[in-house]
Amino acid sequence: MKSSLPKSLGISQQVYHTLGKYLRLEPSSLHPEDSLRDDLGLDSLQTIELVYEVETAFDLQIPDEDFGRLTTIGDVVLYLNERTQLAGKSLSVPQATPPAKHASHSATKTKSPIHSKKPQT
């Protein structure tokens, strides 16, 4: 499910913030059409980790059967919008940072993303 959602919604800002934190990238460097696998280079475990970060940030659970819908960043935004509407409430995330306008798309590509929950002392 490819998506070209505008990034103007509150949910969108929160998704970009969460993904940027996970990927250690500026939220402004991420694009709705970015494929989690092909553009961001996430393997299956990393995709699961990213979904975990989204679940934690949005305080919800994403069932296994919904994983197939989450191909691009836009898909994640759309999915969370739907879940929010279904729940009839607005989700909130502390410290959400609004995504700024993109610079260069090519600068957003990475083949070696790493998760944000690095082991700490």
Binding site: L45, E49, Y52, E55, T56, S112, I114, H115, K118, P119
Partner: protein
């Protein structure tokens, strides 16, 4: 005839230095890495009976663009990666040009990924939400996460094992590396040991076991004092050591620098008690004898011992009894030192760090001091233990390690010629 086995690369992460050069300089100066534990986050330290540890400070993760592995593993495996990167560089090996199937990894790990383990346990119990447990929790706490990540990071497709025998783990990892080469299963083995478990739960556990020093909380540098009358328990440490273990033929062919030859190894159980060594030292003696037999050297040829010497009342005493039973009067003429006096007890890393020390001692003829050996305990005092650096040509050395679970291990190293 079995292949001869040599050590061609060293790497270390320790409380007194990250990197072999800084570690060795500090060790020869008798610097101690034992300091007060400032806090466990919000946890009040005052409630802990022991409040000192050999902690690695200033450890920095490599830039993710150079190392995509470190940020995905727990601190102990990060240490193993750093030590191994140094050891490979030190060895002069270009692993990309080697046959990956002939490169093994043997890692000794006592506690493993307890940092993430404790964090996720806390998350689960506080939230009561199973889906809040991080997806990388299991791959991180699995005890072979270090040996696995070392293989991934350095492209080693040969035998890959993790040995977990508490404090003797990495003597076995080096011993098994040696055996794999002797058996022709590998040309090169990355032999590592690592632990980093100075965490609220593990530290509380060792406190409850009454195993740790408690008398020197206000004087941390004095807390680890093997063979001294004032010792009162071990000091927890953290770190990693890696040795590149290689067949002599392979090392010679590529004109490698050789630190020392590995000539003997023994593994034995006391089948006695989970945390106390057999008091007469007879099983330690048996393990030392087996190692010497494997090495093909007599007790009269031994002239150095890197002792296990954790600074516990029973342990140091029993180790000397065991050594005396094998070496007899010779024990009064040889150098014995205790690396744990400098850095505390690094658990799964202890054997690897002790072996690195031994290799450098054989190579240089310089032996680091046993710090805080100020008031020798008559039960285990020896003429060859000194709180000063010693210079003496040594040709054959023993490295001892004894672990919880009644587990003994001894390596024999020989100056290379």
């Amino acid at each position: 005839m079995a292949s001869r086995v040599v050590i061609t690369g060293l790497g270390i992460v320790s409380p007194i230095g990250i990197g072999v050069s800084s570690f060795w300089k500090a060790a020869l100066k008798g610097q101690t890495g034992v300091t007060a534990i400032s806090s466990f986050g919000d946890f009040p330290m005052e409630s802990y009976r022991s409040r000192v540890a050999g902690q690695v400070s200033h450890f920095q993760l490599p830039d993710p663009s150079e190392d995509k592995f470190s940020s995905r593993v727990d601190r102990y495996a990060q240490f193993a990666l750093a030590a191994t990167r140094e050891a490979i560089q030190d060895s002069g090996l270009c692993l990309a040009k080697e046959r990956a199937e002939r490169i093994g990894v043997m890692a000794g790990v006592g506690m493993g990924g307890m940092m993430m383990g404790e964090r996720e346990l806390t998350t689960l119990y506080q939230s009561q939400k199973p889906h809040r447990v991080h997806p990388n929790f299991i791959p991180t706490i699995t005890l072979n996460s270090a040996s696995g990540i070392l293989a991934l990071a350095f492209g080693a497709k040969g035998p890959n094992l993790t040995i977990s025998t508490a404090c003797s783990s990495s003597i076995h990892s080096i011993g098994q590396a040696m055996q794999a080469i002797r058996l022709g299963q590998a040309d090169i083995v990355i032999a590592s040991g690592a632990d980093a478990s100075i965490t609220p739960l593990v530290f509380a556990g060792f406190c409850s076991l009454r195993a740790l020093s408690t008398k020197y909380n206000d004087h941390p540098a004095k807390a680890s004092r093997p063979f001294d009358r004032g010792r009162d328990g071990f000091v927890m440490g953290e770190g990693a050591g890696t040795l590149i273990v290689e067949s002599l033929r392979h090392a010679t062919r590529r004109k490698a620098r050789i630190y020392a030859e590995l000539i003997g190894y023994a593994a034995a159980s006391e089948a006695y008690h989970m945390v106390i060594p057999r008091e007469d030292g007879s099983d330690i003696a048996r393990t030392v004898s087996l190692a010497l037999k494997d090495a093909g050297v007599s007790p009269a040829q031994v002239d150095y011992v890197n002792a296990h010497a954790t600074s516990t009342m029973v342990g140091d005493d029993v180790e000397v009894k065991g050594l005396r039973a094998v070496l007899g009067k010779r024990l009064n003429t040889i150098v014995v030192n205790a690396t744990k006096s400098l850095i505390g007890h690094t658990l799964g890393a202890a054997g690897a760090i002790g072996t690195i020390v031994s290799a450098l001692s054989l190579q240089t003829g310089i032996l680091h001091p046993t710090v805080n050996y100020d008031d020798p305990d008559p039960h285990c005092a020896l003429p060859g233990i000194s709180n000063k650096v010693q210079k003496k040509s040594v040709r054959v050395g023993l490295v001892n390690a004894f672990g919880f679970g009644s587990n003994n291990a001894v390596l024999v190293l020989k100056k290379f010629s």
